[in-house]
Amino acid sequence: MIYTHKSPALLIIGLLILLWGTLNHLGAVDHWQSTLQQSAYKDHVGVKEKFEAELRVATEQAAAKKEPAPTMTMPKSKFDEEKAFQAKLSFIFGGAFTLIGLFVLSWNPRPGQLDYLVSTVPGVAFILIIALVVRWGLDPIFANWGKAVKDAGTLSWDFAKIFNLNYVVLGIVVGILVVNVLRIPAWAANGVRLSRLFLKTGVILLGTLYSAAELAQLGALSVGMIGIFVLGSVGIVLIMGRRMGAGNSMTGVLSAGMGVCGVSATVAASPVVQAKASEIAYTIGTILAWGVLCMFIFPTVGHLFNMTPVQFGAWAGTGILNSAQVAGAALAYDPDGIETLKVAEIFNITRVLFLPIIVLWLAAWYVKNEENAAKVDLTHVLISKFPIFVLGFILMFALSSMGLFAPAGHYQGKFFSGDKVKEEKLVKPKQVRLLEGALAQMRNPEETRALKDLIANRKLTSRDQDNTLKAVARIPELDNAVKGILENASKAAWHDSPVIRAFRDWIAWLFALGLIGLGMQITGRAIRQAGGTPLVIGSVVGLIKAVGSLAVVLLFISKSV
């Protein structure tokens, strides 16, 4: 079978992306960009005005000294950086897609691995161009629109912020619209299916951003919460299903879907409990309907309760039935950072680790309750259902902790190093004198020693010294200038690993692409199958899970780990 479609679609997408990159590079779309990137453009105007003023002064001074006018280069503003970033990304991906698009048109594919791999590229390009349009176009348009409506007094609140209409939510919505209104083009189908690989890769890379203590605390928290709510909801479905006469296979598949991780658990458990096709359809319809609803409601409620990333991540990770929408809600809540995603994904991983156990439980329950049930090979279930990508996550965590990507002991790529302090960041002689004047205010020998070391070395040399001087900077009577010097000395000794920073950027993009692709697999037809007894049971359990986990999070989960 040949998978590659001889379609010019990939070439067209590549050329469109290249065109956008070129227009940005030439500054031909600056007017559009100034409307879209309003805050960056404000920065640009400020930088430009400052530069022009400095140039004018320098020119006047040169003229007074009868010297030639100086040549100065305007520093890059955030607006310039954003345009350069968009151009760079467009050149890389647009160029690659154009070349592969030309190859597709001229190539005679033969059955094999290469054919399948090439067939996935147009779909990936399709998702990427949607992601670019959403991130660089729709996201700022909605943000500006929400702000404008609020500023004009039409609404007293920013609707874009309240409904979290950021690139993640908009991307998923566009994905859902594409599949339901336009349908996925045949040339893009294989690439769209690849979107789950983006999410798994994102989770694997996420492993580099945890500290051991953080992972241990989040792991314990997630095992506790997921344990209670998974077992609780599986138990409730089993009881409700029996009382409402739903049948063993229906009850079994519904309990897995409602209890563990939604559609994924339904897919894993259906063959084990010998669910009928219609029962699978009812369950998946109910889960998708609840999942999409929760993805919009959860972030808004989270903002109303002013939840921290840990609290919201724990709530979304427990209360949302379907695992794909857990990631969506976490990124919708916190689109600029990935702190919430970090917490939510630990809960997702815990859920998926619970999956083989729950499938085994249901298999035993089904065999006990159903006369004609086929026996299940327990070892096979445990091995086949084990999520291999979790091993990748653990491996990346281990490699990161051992210092492969940034010096060992780093946290999210940030690490302390006195040796790497740049010359221009050293404490200046004038500042040294101010620090010497502050020595008398030190409260103990340790603080005195730390400050003396700083004076002597003109930089921080150890994390202990940094911690001590951070405490010193909080002395109320200390001069503000001294506090500023201590803060700057600390900042100068902390460094950011470029590798981990790149991972962070990739994680955000991978999740955005993955979620758009998964949005393209949520069809209205599948959701419409929700109904009857499964919908009643699913709604009761979904509500109990969402409200119950919210109460537990607000009452018992501290704001940070």
Partner: protein, 169 residues
């Protein structure tokens, strides 16, 4: 009831009634009417059973499972659908044989409306029989034929069996 005129009779295949459905309860209830019409006209009955493309969407947005679990689910669901379809076709065949009706079975996978219109164009039956939508409150899958598309696309008469047709006949 209108008898088929010679002009509507196909030259080589004889008169045919196309009974088309995708395994819904409405279709099951339409079977007696389809059989009665075929019997009255001594027509061959062409039985089209479509396995809707909807089933291809049943993995939804699953992303946590590995390939072997997804394959196992796909194989399981396919097996279920094939068994259901074969049972359905076999039961209908037996009813036709009992009535001494000539019968042909067509099993297609795809969009029910597309499959119906394609087969109707190919076979040129004297009429097409389909089931009606289930009334509100009755359990069942929500995947009905878009009547507007069927009416626009068909160039042969269409009979929609009422939900309670069994009791009327």
């Amino acid at each position: 009831m209108v008898e088929p005129t010679p002009s509507s009779v196909q030259p080589e295949g004889g008169v045919s009634v196309l009974f088309a459905h995708h395994g819904t309860e409405g279709a099951r209830r339409a079977e007696p009417l389809a059989l009665e019409l075929a019997l009255r006209w001594r027509a061959r009955i062409d039985h089209l059973l479509v396995v809707p493309a909807l089933w291809g969407e049943m993995m939804g947005d699953d992303w946590l499972n590995n390939a072997s679990t997804r394959d196992a689910f796909g194989d399981y669901l396919e097996h279920q659908l094939v068994c259901d379809a074969q049972n359905h076709l076999q039961a209908f065949r037996e009813r036709c044989q009992a009535l001494d009706l000539e019968h042909r079975a067509w099993l297609r996978v795809g969009e029910p409306v597309t499959c119906l219109l394609e087969l109707a164009r190919e076979l040129r039956p004297v009429l097409v029989v389909i089931g009606s939508r289930r009334p509100k409150g009755v359990a069942g899958l929500r995947d009905h034929l878009p009547l507007d598309t069927v009416l626009r696309g068909l160039n042969v008469p269409l009979v929609i069996a009422p939900w309670s047709s069994q009791s009327n006949h």
